[in-house]
């Protein structure tokens, strides 16, 4: 789950990290009211789940309330890398003496937490990593040990931060690690972490991704779930508990198992077609789940054909076939369907499907055959 900057800052504040006072606003008037309460000058910041906001004109300094009005009306509704700005964060402007970068994430290779700290903040860390990799000081933290103060101090020294910034940065890093672990985050990133002219260390931006698997021990994370960037199709699938990712093509894809679903999307591409989605219905493939999946696909106006790719393991072919037949009784499907059914009792399953076959419901013996047929139906041409 990706947090907006303001949610990330509120999250950091719970762990005692120094963030600016601010308010979120959904309209221009709300933005001006917020600025009035906070006192100018303020920053007007677009809240979107993507980077590059500054370059896109999504972050502006406002010296007066009139400036706030101008900037908020420019920024609200702005399209930043495909994300339309629906809310802005108004916060007290900070004076900056120096900018740094700090983050924690899981290093899957080392199977330890990786902390990265750089004296070159305010630019994308990927750029620093390419152009000046030595400017990033890394520390690997064993989750069993955690991060102690001595290690944090050595790490700050290794990053060559100026003397004035050391103590404050050590303190923020320890709190950042606490937020990362205690909050079950996949990523916590502060860029920039600033040194103010008065010598304080301050969090000026927040990028936080939380592990959706940890929601069972963080009841408050449900609020974040509601603000995830999802298109209409993804929202509908999410409500049905389906693993769905929207794509741009015309062949709707339903498969059981994440690997098989990914593979199905690949094969549709391989034969020259374009998948409309990734959809994993899990192992069961009963009528209810299948009906829900078909509903989601059916509501996608771009879909011209549907490819159902099922491999029966423990779930037998006849159960899958009955599930498909049952789902088709419940949902009126607009696009023609091609089914590939293999695995346990596939023959029995195919026998059940046989009497239902028509132009609108076809069967193909292999994944590749089924993909070709589905693409032909979607694009009205031979492949």
């Amino acid at each position: 789950m990706d947090l907006f900057e303001y949610q990330g800052k509120q999250f950091f504040a719970q762990y005692g990290m120094p963030v600016s006072a601010g308010e979120v606003a959904l309209t221009v008037d709300e933005a001006v009211d917020a600025a009035e309460r906070l006192g100018t000058p303020v920053m007007v910041k677009a809240q979107v789940h993507t980077g590059g906001r500054g370059k896109a004109g999504g972050i502006k300094f406002a010296a007066t309330l009139d400036d706030v009005r101008t900037h908020a009306s420019d920024i609200l509704g702005l399209d930043i890398r495909g994300h339309v700005v629906g809310r802005v964060w108004i916060e007290k402007a900070s004076d900056i003496a120096d900018e740094y970068y700090a983050s924690f994430t899981l290093d899957r290779s080392a199977k330890k937490h990786l902390g990265m700290l750089s004296a070159e903040g305010g630019v994308e860390i990927e750029t620093v990593a390419v152009e000046n990799p030595d400017a990033i000081a890394k520390v690997w933290v064993d989750p069993v040990d955690g991060l102690d103060e001595a290690t944090a101090r050595d790490w700050v020294m290794a990053a060559n931060l100026p003397e004035a910034a050391v103590e404050g940065t050590v303190d923020v890093l320890l709190k950042l690690y606490m937020a990362y672990v205690d909050g079950d985050a996949d990523l916590v990133e502060v860029n920039p972490l600033i040194l103010t002219p008065e010598g304080r260390i301050h969090v000026l931006d927040a990028k936080v991704t939380l592990d959706a698997n940890s929601v069972f021990r963080h009841e408050d994370y449900e609020a974040y779930d509601e603000t995830q960037a999802r298109d209409e199709r993804e929202t509908a699938a999410h409500a049905r508990g389906l693993q769905y990712v929207g794509l741009d093509g015309s062949v709707g894809v339903i498969a059981n198992g994440a690997g098989l679903a990914m593979s199905t999307v690949d094969v549709v591409n391989q034969v020259g077609g374009s998948p409309a989605n990734f959809l994993d219905i899990g192992g069961g493939a009963n009528a209810e789940v299948m009906a829900g999946a078909l509903e989601v696909i059916n509501n996608d106006p771009a879909v011209r054909s549907i490819f159902i790719n099922i491999f029966g393991g423990i779930t037998r072919g006849e159960e899958v076939a009955n599930g498909i037949v049952g789902a088709l009784e419940r949902v009126a499907i607009d696009a023609p369907i091609v089914i590939r059914l293999d695995g346990t009792n596939a023959d029995e399953g195919r026998t059940i499907l046989e009497p239902h076959l028509s132009d609108a419901l076809q069967m193909a013996p292999t994944m590749l055959d089924a993909a070709r047929r589905a693409v032909e139906l979607a694009e009205g041409r031979e492949v």
Binding site: P143, V144, G257, A258, G259, A261, S263, G313, M367
Partner: protein
């Protein structure tokens, strides 16, 4: 021969009294797996279809000589269950449960490394392991696997593993052991662990590998293959066309910051001499070709 589990493996099911644990525990027993015990602190002293239930893994090990455990505990309890199994004295832990927080996984992975280095963890979020004809722990449909070798399989994906077993069986090719390492960010057992074991297993003559997007496990495996493997390998990597920044079902299957792409993984494997198929069927055909030439 086989790797990690064989006909002598004695398994305790943590969560045997739950619906999933009971269903798969009994299926595994029907297959021939030595399902010797279950655990549930609130139901100690009872049994599940004749399988005795103990309060803890330690008691189950003491009473039944269990050597392995299979975890069918809800995600919130997996951390505790894995540590309990290691403390209880089993050598091999198979965690089927999906949805375990990544921080828990990172924590118990390192804890096992430090305090129980002889214990192997498989999973979480994996289909389990099957040495056909000998032992099946987890949720794989046993009858789709043909016993006898000469192929060993290691896979990050459940259904694609079944697909691979099935395609090999259709071609009359058997399997020594099929290991589903799972699609999570911190798998207890890696590709390399399995490749190393298959290389050492005299009955395994070739290995089929199924990867997917995300992380760098396939690239690391490729490096191992180039320097340490003598046995021929075919592979498939799912997610060639996955968009960046989107999790494709599995927690670990995500292309981020341009890293973890299927194309890069396939290139690395090809460079290491692996025969890479563009879809599961092609990888199966390549394996049939390899087996024919053995």
């Amino acid at each position: 021969m086989s790797i990690f589990v064989d006909a002598e493996t004695r398994v305790v099911y943590q969560g045997l009294t739950g619906s999933q644990g009971r269903y798969y525990g009994l299926l595994n027993r029907d297959y021939g797996t030595r399902v010797v015990a279950g655990t549930n602190p609130r139901k100690a002293g009872t049994d599940v279809d004749g399988i005795p239930v103990f309060a803890t893994v330690a008691e189950a090990v003491a009473e039944t000589g269990a050597t392995a455990s299979c975890v069918f505990i809800p995600a919130a309890g997996v951390h505790g269950a894995v540590i309990e199994a290691a403390e209880g004295g089993v050598e091999f832990i198979v965690a089927i449960t999906e949805g375990v927080p990544a921080h828990d996984e990172a924590h118990f992975y390192n804890r096992l490394r430090r305090d129980y280095p002889h214990v192997r963890l498989l999973g979480p979020n994996c289909p389990g392991i099957i040495s056909p004809g000998q032992c099946n722990i987890g949720i794989t449909a046993g009858h789709i696997a043909l016993p006898g070798g000469p192929v060993g399989i290691v896979s990050r994906s459940g259904t694609l593993t079944y697909q691979a077993l099935y395609e090999l069986r259709e071609k009359g090719i058997g399997c020594t052991t099929c290991v589903g390492i799972g699609g999570d960010p911190v798998p207890g057992t890696s590709f390399i662990d399995c490749l190393e074991a298959f290389e050492a297993d005299p009955d395994t003559k070739a290995v089929m590998m199924i990867g997917e997007i995300g992380g760098s496990a396939e690239e690391e495996a490729a490096e191992f293959i180039a320097t340490r493997m003598t046995k021929p390998i075919s592979a498939y990597v799912a997610g060639v066309t996955a968009p960046p920044g989107k999790k494709m079902g599995h927690a670990g299957a995500i292309v981020s910051g341009g890293k973890g792409t299927a194309a890069a993984k396939m290139d690395a494997l090809r460079a290491a001499g692996v025969r890479v198929g563009l879809n599961p069927t092609e990888a199966g055909e390549l394996m049939a070709d390899i087996v024919a030439g053995l």
